[in-house]
């Protein structure tokens, strides 16, 4: 597993803890809306936390299709790769 992947997933999970403080156990297939109950505004808060953790800017369209934690991580990895 490349170092970048680890860094992204760690950052996403850290950001999730800050954006949703009372979050329980989550795995990669956890659905952001139906399982975590995140509305669109909370997802945007989560994205800004991830941006701060990784010091990157994430275009809104990049994460529009992400429904699960794994999909979100994949989207963020693409942004990291584009910026590399």
């Amino acid at each position: 597993m490349p170092a970048t992947v680890d860094r992204v997933e760690l950052a996403v999970r850290e950001a999730l803890k800050i954006a949703v403080p009372d979050i329980g156990a989550v795995d990669g297939s956890t659905h952001l809306a139906s399982e975590l109950g995140l509305d669109s505004a909370q997802v945007m808060d989560l994205i800004m936390e991830i941006e701060d953790h990784l010091d990157i800017s994430i275009p809104v369209a990049t994460i529009a299709e992400a429904r699960t934690l794994d999909q979100l991580c994949d989207s963020v990895r693409r942004v990291v790769a584009d910026n590399a």
């Binding site: 669109s40 505004a41 909370q42 808060d45 994205i47 800004m48 010091d55 800017s57 994430i58 275009p59």
Partner: protein, 400 residues
């Protein structure tokens, strides 16, 4: 699953917001409207404290007369876009009045305030450009970004340093970036740090557009807004505004200190592909603009109400959304039921306000939004304060 099945959660939300009373808190049916501050709801005459009629101009005698005259002389509608048969002398005169008021060379009028944001933002930033938008911006701003072919990145609400970090990361592309902020946010009533936003935007060579939908008419010399109040009109690139708040009509405008902004008439789809505003709307808006520019009396009355009301609700222990007094006062609650209780209590006391809940509110807050008007009387303000005082004792809404 059918197309309509995905809306089922909205039915649950609608039921929850209906509350215990007979009148729903969303899309509240107005049986009749009697003045800028009075309507009939559910058969009862109520005081309106939940509109955007900040200067009370919807019933101004000159504005009504101008609208009636326009209908009689020019008809009810233009039936064409500004690029076809809908480009009347009134539209052009109104644009000139706005541009002259700002001392700028360019103004474009749009058919609604929503379309002004859509039309200006989506056309200014295109393929290969960047939009940096405040995360708490109005839905019309975020929809404009979706319409635009530019890359959209959000920054933290009212945080110039957060914006600066995003501009820094863009490098040379910062010069192809439009920064989008509002001067006064309509839900919590908080103001943007505009001077800091201007400085950051200039530092990176980007352009700045400021939506003054809720501040135009109330702030600055001649009511031109917060950019004018802060002396920033020579540093801000574009100002957006609406006719449906302080001007008492419907429509929107964008003014610019760049003469080439006029070329957007040929590029902005929300401007090109819709009918132009009806003559009566343009005439009433022009009369309202002249009234607004003519003197400070309405603003002075409104600000007197604002300071009196803001001090009172703070003394009563309510948690208020903004530290800056303004025409909008947001009473904030962590629990939805508490906000619904206050909204219903005020309606029972004959006062209509707005109930706002997530996801349409920032930070998941539940809000009773109260807006004041220059058309309110001192007795109206006293009635609001008295009702809120009684409900504060019952609901114990002390700052959480």
């Amino acid at each position: 699953m059918t197309l309509l099945a995905k809306f089922a959660p909205l039915a649950e939300l609608r039921a929850a917001l209906a509350g215990s009373g007979r009148v729903p808190s969303i899309a509240t049916p107005m049986d009749a409207v009697h003045s800028a501050t009075e309507a009939t709801i559910d058969g009862r005459r109520v005081l309106l404290a939940g509109t955007n009629n900040y200067l009370g101009l919807t019933f101004d005698a000159d504005c009504r007369a101008a609208a009636i005259k326009a209908v009689e002389t020019l008809g009810t509608g233009t039936t064409g876009s500004r690029m076809a048969s809908g480009n009347y002398a009134g539209h052009r005169a109104l644009e000139r009045e706005f541009a002259d008021a700002f001392g700028w060379p360019a103004c474009i009028v749009f058919s609604t305030g929503y379309q002004a944001n859509l039309g200006a933002i989506s056309a200014l930033a295109g393929q290969g450009d960047f939009l940096l938008v405040d995360a708490d911006g109005h839905a019309s701003i975020h929809d404009a970004c979706r319409l635009s072919a530019a890359t959209t990145i959000r920054f933290r609400h009212n945080d110039p340093e957060n914006l600066a970090r995003r501009l820094e990361r863009l490098g040379e592309d910062a010069k192809r970036t439009l920064v989008v902020v509002e001067s006064l946010y309509s839900v919590l009533g908080d103001r943007a740090p505009l001077k800091e936003f201007v400085e950051v935007t200039e530092r990176y060579g980007a352009m700045l557009i400021v939506d003054e939908a809720h501040s135009f008419g109330m702030f600055g010399p001649k009511g031109l807004g917060i950019c004018a109040e802060l002396g920033l009109l020579d540093r801000v690139d574009f100002v957006l505004g609406t006719f449906s708040k302080s001007l008492g009509g419907v429509g929107g405008f964008c003014v610019s200190r760049h003469a080439d902004f006029e070329l957007l008439r040929l590029a902005s789809r929300p401007y090109l592909f819709t009918a132009s505003p009806p003559p009566a709307v343009i005439a009433a808006t022009h009369a309202a603009l002249k009234r607004l520019l003519a003197g400070d009396d309405l603003r002075a009355t409104l600000w007197g109400h604002i300071h009196r009301f803001y001090d009172a609700v703070n003394r009563q222990g309510y948690r208020v959304g903004s530290k800056d007094p303004g025409p909008v006062t947001a009473l904030v609650f962590n629990e939805r039921d508490a906000a619904i209780g206050l909204w219903q209590g005020l309606l029972d006391a004959g006062i209509y306000t707005n109930l706002m809940v997530p996801p349409s509110t920032p930070a998941g807050l539940n809000i009773v939004r109260i807006s004041l008007s220059a058309a309110h009387t001192e007795a109206d303000i006293s009635r609001m304060i008295e009702a809120l005082g009684k409900l504060a004792a019952q609901l114990k809404p002390v700052a959480a």
